[in-house]
């Protein structure tokens, strides 16, 4: 083999990842030479990089292109999921700024770790083989373990980081074991190769075992029941902006990866994984609704809420159809807006340097902070799935897809659990509007205002202008089939 035979792979499709990777290296150098004073500049730099990557992703055509020896794919689905991931990461940086300054843990490494995590998430959304998927996942997870423990002098934060790390390593092991079985029984790691090897539709026992282990690994990353145990503790212990990040962008990436692997690599053996996904979806929806009822901490409540929401999104995946995936994408768009909006409100519950994180601290918020209370009420009504807010449509599309795919029982269970879940979402609204007011909180920092304003606009106005988001979701789903 001589030099002329080596063909330079086309790097254009991976441009957003390259921008972030090179930018991270530059910012690391800048940060380590300037020291802790550079936190402000590195934050701004990280935001600029994320926005730049966002523009590059949006400017991509959405046509299906594979590059880097077939291990990296760009299509309509990856485009939409990458936009969501980048928005979630940018929001996390906006939400974190003021909190970290007040807690005196304002260090320049945080935006760097968010950026590295984002690269991993983008790779997860674009992975076209098992190795790239695993490396992207590991890059994302490793950065997430570190930022969970970022408040290193806080016992709960370090505990959250350690728990997340130990359980995350276990789940990565399961995913790898499943991947190795799939590789062993199909003879290839690339998703198109696996599709070709399984195209006759009958898979052996080894493939079934491999799919089960892969499903367990991805269920952990999505925090779906029965692999959700870490979620409430990690969400409660981590610094609140980090919790907001965990509940937003990594969920997008985990769902993107799950869809990519089940629809992209195992489309002809749907019968095997459909029952796993149906079980995970039912268990997540039920646990998300019932376990949240007794929670007093808002962060734990949001953790159970995120478990339940992943269950609803998986209903669309269980349908396994184009309409189902389109529903998943719409659900994730709306979930991102609702979660970020809710966390922006939680982060603004601060009075004289102390954070308030229980349900009772919201008491009478409508009289002290009417706008804040209105926004949070909109998020909660939307999470409960009450029309005409966006959350209703998210649930509507996944349930309709499930009914079209003859999963009527699944859809009915979903509706029942969402009624149960409505109890605790509406209780929050009741506490805000009908209980005795407390002393007013400090004014909201500008970063929180931007995030809250944008999410409220999406949640409230989706009903008037659903076409762009639905069009994007349909295009994304179409590119997978």
């Amino acid at each position: 083999m001589n030099a002329a035979q080596i063909v330079m792979p086309s790097l254009g499709p991976a441009l957003p990842e390259l921008i972030l990777a090179v930018g991270v290296l530059v910012l690391i150098l800048y940060g380590s030479f300037r020291g802790e004073r550079s936190a402000e500049a590195v934050n701004v730099g990280a935001l600029v990089l994320l926005v730049l990557a966002l523009f590059v992703v949006m400017s991509q055509s959405g046509a299906k292109i594979t590059t880097l020896n077939g291990s990296f794919i760009v299509d309509g689905f990856s485009k939409v999921m990458k936009v969501l991931i980048l928005l979630g990461s940018a929001a996390a940086i906006l939400l974190s700024r003021d909190y970290f300054q007040r807690e005196r843990i304002d260090r320049f490494e945080f935006p760097l770790l968010i950026l590295l995590c984002t690269i991993g998430m983008l790779v997860m959304a674009s992975a076209n083989d098992l190795i790239a998927m695993y490396l992207g996942l590991e890059l994302q997870s490793l950065a997430a373990y570190v930022i969970a423990a970022f408040h290193r002098d806080n016992l709960r934060s370090t505990e959250a980081g350690l728990k997340y790390f130990v359980l995350g390593a276990l789940s990565s092991g399961m995913l790898l074991y499943g991947s190795s079985l799939v590789y062993g029984f199909t003879g290839t790691v690339s998703f198109p190769g696996i599709v070709a090897a399984l195209s006759d539709g009958n898979a052996g026992f080894g493939i079934v075992l491999g799919i089960v282990f892969v499903a367990a690994g991805v269920a952990f990353k999505m925090s779906a029941v029965p692999f959700h145990m870490w979620t409430p503790d990690v969400y409660e212990g981590s610094p609140t902006p980090v919790t907001a990040f965990f509940a937003s962008a990594p969920k997008m990436a985990a769902v993107a990866m799950t869809v990519r692997i089940f629809i992209g690599a195992f489309p002809d053996v749907t019968a095997i994984w459909q029952q796993i996904i149906v079980f995970i979806a039912i268990a997540s929806m039920a646990l998300g609704s019932f376990a949240a009822i007794g929670q007093r901490s808002i962060k734990r409540l949001m953790a159970y809420s995120s478990i339940g929401n992943i269950g609803y999104a998986l209903v669309g995946l269980a349908a396994g159809s184009q309409a189902g995936i389109s529903g998943v994408v719409i659900y994730m768009i709306i979930y991102l807006a609702m979660t970020l909006g809710a966390f922006a409100v939680i982060l603004s519950l601060r009075r004289g340097g102390q954070m308030f994180e229980t349900l009772d601290d919201l008491s009478g918020l409508s009289r002290t902070h009417p706008v804040l209370a209105f926004c949070l009420a909109a998020m909660m009504f939307s999470l409960a799935g009450i029309p005409p807010l966006a959350g209703f449509f998210g649930k509507y599309f996944v349930f309709r897809a499930a009914i079209e795919a003859n999963l009527v029982a699944l859809a009915i269970i979903g509706v029942v659990t969402s009624v149960v879940g409505a109890f605790y979402y509406l209780r929050l609204v009741k506490v805000m509007y009908f209980d005795e007011p407390l002393a007013p909180y400090d004014p909201m920092p500008p970063g929180l205002r931007i995030v809250l304003g944008l999410s409220t606009v999406v949640v409230v106005l989706f009903v008037l202008l659903p076409a762009p988001l639905r069009g994007a979701a349909d295009a994304a789903a179409k590119s997978l089939f």
């Binding site: 991270v24 490494e109 490396l135 970022f150 290193r152």
Partner: protein, 206 residues
């Protein structure tokens, strides 16, 4: 007996002997040193097989990193190895039984092991024959072309590990005295020495 065979018996014998010394030596530091000897001899065996890349990796990774890490742990942690070894006689029968079962299983697996002749005939991938390129070169050719994406991603994972370790453990401690050579060199005689007249029977105030 050819030279290669002589070296094989030398390396193999040393590996087994030092492996035995690892578990039988009383001093844990000596155990780790024997472990290093075993690694180096195993690397020698790889060289004899023509797998010089694996041999170098074994030395770099296992001797350079893993064994040194063991050494650190053994020396830093106060582990009472004599106490750990107390139950040795008691657990010997069951240990020997498990060892024997494992040995039989390995013999059964290796005994019935066949390699697909097609695989031996045509190696997968664009690797040239072993005569024209060394295996380090052959690995490098695929690692930096076909698998460059994985390679770079793995590099980013390691970067995260490094940043994470620094973020979670590095603290700047106030009040630690550090040597500053520039300040030291900038000192003049006037700054370092002060001449005072000492009045008799009164002394000076320091």
């Amino acid at each position: 007996m050819s030279a290669a065979a002589a070296f094989f018996y030398l390396f193999a014998g040393m590996t087994v002997a030092s492996g035995f010394m690892v578990i039988s030596s009383r001093n844990p530091v000596a155990s780790v040193l024997f472990l290093i000897l075993a690694f180096v001899n195993a690397a020698g065996l790889f060289v004899l097989l023509g797998a010089e890349f694996l041999a170098m990796i074994l030395v770099v990774v296992y001797v350079g990193a893993v064994a040194v890490l063991f050494l650190f742990v053994v020396m830093m942690l106060d582990v009472d190895f004599a106490q750990l070894r107390q139950g040795f006689q008691q657990y010997l029968p069951i240990g020997a039984l498990i060892g024997a079962i494992l040995l039989i299983e390995i013999l059964l697996v290796v005994g019935s092991w066949t390699i697909d002749p097609g695989l031996v005939q045509a190696p997968l991938g664009p690797l040239a024959s072993a005569e024209s390129v060394t295996n380090t070169q052959a690995l490098g050719r695929v690692l930096y072309t076909d698998y460059v994406f994985y390679f770079q991603l793995a590099g980013l994972v390691l970067l995260v590990a490094m940043i994470g370790a620094i973020v979670l453990t590095l603290r700047d401690r106030p009040g630690v005295k550090r040597q500053n050579i520039a300040t030291q060199n900038a000192r003049t005689q006037g700054m370092a020495v002060e001449t005072r007249k000492v009045p008799s029977r009164q002394g000076v105030e320091v």
